[in-house]
Symmetry: C2
Subunit: 197 residues, 2 copies
């Protein structure tokens, strides 16, 4: 077999990114080589550093290169609320709204068939957070999948056992969404969650 050219290797390697197929990888490789070698060298350096140094926050488990993440260290957050999410990207999504409480990131969801139990999603660590006297409410913002719902249910039992409030974020029609394009499951949720006006 002929050894792969460096360009071929680059195109192959670029495909480790989600949503990047062979054609996009080719286009990216050519673009970087022709127009932005400096940007690519910088990316290569930062990527190596990031993969080596970014770990998880000891308190909320989100991504950070420090022992405790910036959000957890901030003194401006509301300690009475913790929002539980599946992934670090969910934190970014919720930060864009005006929630100002704490977070806890599961890094997954319960999935007994795959051998993912409570400890694998950090619930022993979460149990300790529940001991905090300042904490009044846990908001469950796991995904609306079967696993996400089961995980939310499991955690709600833990929280109730500690005598704290627990809530699930509302599911319904997205803002600006047109009814005819929303699936029936969502509409059923929106009906159940209707409010008197």
């Amino acid at each position: 077999m002929v050894e792969q050219s460096l360009l071929e290797q680059l195109i192959e390697a670029l495909r480790c990114m989600p949503g990047i197929g062979r054609k996009s990888a080719q286009r990216i490789a050519h673009h970087l080589l022709q127009r932005n070698r400096d940007g690519a060298k910088h990316l290569s350096k930062i990527m190596a550093q990031a993969m080596e140094n970014i770990g998880h926050c000891q308190r909320c488990r989100t991504f950070t290169e420090r022992p405790i993440c910036e959000l957890c260290e901030s003194s401006k957050r509301d300690n009475s609320m913790i929002c539980v999410v599946e992934n670090p990207s969910d934190v970014d999504a919720i930060e864009d709204s005006n929630y100002r409480g704490r977070y806890f990131v599961l890094l997954g969801h319960l999935s007994p068939l795959d051998g993912i139990g409570p400890e694998d999603i950090g619930l022993n660590q979460f149990q300790q957070l529940l001991d905090d006297e300042e904490l009044k409410e846990v908001i469950l913002a796991t995904n609306t999948t079967v696993e996400g719902e089961a995980t939310a249910h499991f955690i709600s039992e833990m929280v109730k056992a500690k005598g704290k409030q627990v809530s699930r974020i509302a599911h319904g029609i997205p803002m600006g969404g047109e009814l005819e394009y929303v699936n029936s499951m969502t509409i059923a949720h929106a009906m159940d969650g209707r409010k008197l006006i």
Copy 2:
């Protein structure tokens, strides 16, 4: 100003790739950190190597880390034809058809207003290739833009002056294309290029 976190820096750096906006960069960064750190480390290494070592073939100007690229070195190619293209990615596109001649990559097109003249697109080097006695035909496959057409015209004069054949690849309706979605320029070309059956 607070120093940017490593994750923020990674997301910013990923945006040097074409077609990757902030949301995609975020998604890619999270995916790599959570699921494929090894792939990302490998990509980082290959990318640094590629940006450092990939240059241009001394004969056809395409990307390669060697002095002469694999295609130019191959003894199985037809020396009687050279296909002239604007970008290295055009070579890949044409390789997927069954053309088996040589290539010449301009790495751009003539653009006097931007100060890009014949030497900047390697035409002095191309002139030497025209001296090859084996060469019978030059196929112009520059883009169908104003600059691409002007460049094709300029090169065709060079080739004719050497008494060799010169041709332009056919423009027309793409295979599988539906007439109603094809622009009028393309239809005009297709009409001009019609063949008796």
